[in-house]
C-alpha cells in the first residue's frame, strides 16, 4: 500500500499535480525547476544550434546584402549581390548544369533502386551478399569514389571505354567532352547512391501488408498489375521521401567535381555549389557567394514545397 502510494506520488512528480501543495504555486515552482533541468540537459546542443547553425544562418542573410572580402570594410550592397549572380552567364550555366545533373541522377537512382529492391525481395538467403555489393559504394568516401572513376573515365586506360568499343559503341572522352561530363557525374552518383535507395525501398517493401498482394493474386492480377496498382501506391511515402532527399542531395553536388578537376573545372562541369566555393574562397567575394547560396536554398525550399503540396494527389498513407 505504502509502495503504491509512493509510486503514484513519483508518477505525479514526473507528470502532473502533487496534492499537498496549492496547484498554482506548485506547478509554477515545478515548471521553473523543470525548465532549469531541461536547459541544463539541452545546453551543449543549444550552444551548437546557436553558434554553428542559427547564428551563421542569420549572418549569411546579412552578408548577402553586403560587399565584403572578410577583412576590409563592409559596405551595404542592397540587392546588387543578387542581381550580380543572377545575371552572370557563368552562374546561369552552372544552374543549368546542376538541374541537368539532377534530371539525370534522381530518376536513375530511384528507378534502379526500386528495380533491384523488387528483385532482392525474392533473393532469399543470398540477400546479404547482394546487399554488400550494392551498398559498399555508399559507405565509401566520395574522394575515393571519384579517384576510382577518374581512372575509369580516362580514355587512354579506361576498361569502360574498352568495353564500349568492344560492343561497337562510341567511347567518349568523358570528363573533357562538354556533352558527357555531366552524364559522367550522374553515372558516378548513381553508382555511389544506388545502395541507399535500395535499402530504403527494401524497408518500404517489407512494411507492405502481404494481404494486399495476396488479394491481388486471388483477383487474378498479373505481376505488372500488382506492381502498378498495389506495390507502387503502397510505396508512395517512400518514393516521396526519396525524391525529396535525392533532389536536395543532387542540387548540392560538389565533391566529385572537385576531385576530378580541383579548382580548374571547365564551365561545362561547374555546378552551383562549386561556384559558391569558388566565389567565396577563390575570389573572397563573401557577399555574392552568400547571395548565391541563399538562392540555392530558396530553390530547394520551393522544389520541396511543391513536392509536399503535390503529395495529396498521389501519396497513399495506410492507417
Amino acid at each position: 500500500m505504502a509502495v503504491s502510494s509512493a509510486g503514484s506520488r513519483a508518477r505525479a512528480r514526473l507528470t502532473s499535480a502533487d496534492p499537498d501543495v496549492h496547484p498554482d504555486r506548485r506547478s509554477r515552482r515545478r515548471r521553473g525547476r523543470d525548465t532549469a533541468a531541461g536547459y541544463l540537459f539541452l545546453a551543449p546542443q543549444l550552444l551548437g544550434l546557436v553558434v554553428f547553425m542559427v547564428g551563421p544562418l542569420l549572418f549569411a542573410l546579412v552578408l548577402a546584402f553586403y560587399h565584403w572580402d572578410g577583412f576590409g570594410t563592409r559596405s551595404f550592397a542592397g540587392l546588387s549581390n543578387f542581381t550580380e549572380v543572377m545575371s552572370s552567364q557563368r552562374i546561369q550555366r552552372a544552374a543549368v548544369n546542376t538541374v541537368w545533373f539532377t534530371v539525370l541522377q534522381v530518376p536513375g537512382l530511384m528507378l534502379t533502386g526500386l528495380f533491384f529492391a523488387l528483385l532482392m525481395q525474392r533473393a532469399g538467403k543470398l540477400t546479404p551478399v547482394y546487399r554488400l555489393a550494392f551498398f559498399a559504394p555508399v559507405i565509401t568516401s566520395s574522394v575515393a569514389v571519384a579517384a576510382i572513376w577518374l581512372w575509369l573515365f580516362n580514355p587512354d586506360i579506361s576498361p569502360v571505354n574498352n568495353a564500349l568499343r568492344g560492343i561497337g559503341l562510341p567511347a567518349p572522352n568523358w570528363l573533357q567532352d562538354a556533352r558527357f561530363v555531366i552524364p559522367a557525374f550522374a553515372i558516378v552518383g548513381i553508382w555511389q547512391g544506388l545502395g541507399y535507395q535500395l535499402i530504403m525501398f527494401m524497408a518500404g517493401l517489407q512494411s507492405i501488408d502481404r494481404s494486399f498482394l495476396e488479394a491481388a493474386v486471388l483477383d487474378g492480377c498479373s505481376e505488372w498489375q500488382k506492381l502498378r496498382h498495389v506495390t507502387i501506391p503502397l510505396l508512395s511515402p517512400t518514393i516521396l521521401f526519396l525524391s525529396i532527399t535525392s533532389i536536395i542531395g543532387s542540387f548540392q553536388v560538389f565533391d566529385y567535381i572537385y576531385v576530378f578537376f580541383d579548382d580548374r573545372a571547365p564551365d561545362s562541369a561547374r555546378t552551383i555549389v562549386y561556384e559558391v566555393v569558388r566565389i567565396a574562397f577563390g575570389e573572397f567575394n563573401f557577399g555574392a557567394a552568400s547571395a548565391l547560396a541563399f538562392l540555392l536554398f530558396l530553390a530547394l525550399l520551393v522544389v520541396t514545397g511543391c513536392q509536399l503540396a503535390a503529395q495529396k494527389k498521389w501519396v497513399h498513407y495506410t492507417e
Partner: protein, 295 residues
Amino acid sequence: MSTFSDTLSRAVTTAKGASGSGRPARRKLLLHAVLVVCAIGMALPFAWMLFSSFKPLSEIFVQPPKLLPQDWTEQGYRTALGGADFVRGFWNSTYIALTVTAVSLLTSAMAAYAFSRIDFWGRRPLFIVFLATMMVPGQLTIIPLYIIMGWLGWVDTHAAIIVPPALFNAFGVFLLRQYIKGIPVELEEAAQIDGAGRVRRFVTIILPLLRTPLTALGIFTFLGQWNNFFFPLIFLNSSEKFTLPLLVNQFKGQYVSDWPALMAATTLLAAPMLIVFAFAQRQIVEGIALSGSKS
C-alpha cells in the same frame, strides 16, 4: 490475422507451384543470374582499384586492360606512403571521427532526453527549430562559419571540424528522441522512488536502453566524419593537419599519372570503412532504413 495471411500465402504459392511445374525454378534462376551480374558490376570498380594498386606502372597501359596484375608489386604502396604522410592522416581522421562521434552521441542523447522527458518552457518551438535546421544545406552556413572560425582563431585547426558536428547534430537528437519516447516512464519512476535524480536516471536507465540506436547513430556519425571532404577542405590548409580524404586528393594532384600509387592511396582511404561495413552490415543497414522511415 498474420497466421491467416501466412496460411493463405502458402496456399497460393503451393497452388502456383502445382500448376506452373518448372516455371518458378527457372524464374528464380533468372533472378539470381541478373542479381549476380549486377552485383559483380557494382563491385568491379573496387576490384579494379584494389588490383591496380598492385600493378607496376607499365601494366596500366596494356590494351585490352586486364583486371589482375601480371606481376604483383607493392611499389604503388611504397610511393603512396613515401609521397604523403598517410600515417599522420590516418591518425588525424581516426581521432577526429572518434571525438566527434563520442561527444555528439552524449550531447544528442542529453538533448533528446530533455525534449522527450522534461516539460520545460519553450520545448515545442525549440524542437521545431531543431527539425527545421535539417533542411539547411551546409554550403549556406559555411561562409559565415568560416568567418566565425576566423574570429575564434580556429581556422586551420582541428577544432574547426570537431566542435561544430560534436555540439550540433539535429538528426541525432531527433532519432534518439523517438527512441526515448518509446521507453516506459515507469522504469524511471521506480528509480525516482529510490531517490535517483535526473542525471542518475539518465545515466543508469536511459543511456543503457539506448544502446541499439546509439550504435547505429555512432557508426553513422563516424562514417560521415571519416568520409567528410567539404568541411576539412574549407577549414584546413596545412597538410600535416589533413584528414585522409584531403590527403588522397592532394596526392592525386601530385601523382596524377602514377595510377598504381593513386589506387594504393585510394585503397588506404576506402578499405577501413569497407572492413567496418563487412562486420557491422546489419547495424548500418538497419540504421539507414530507420533514418528514412522516421521522417
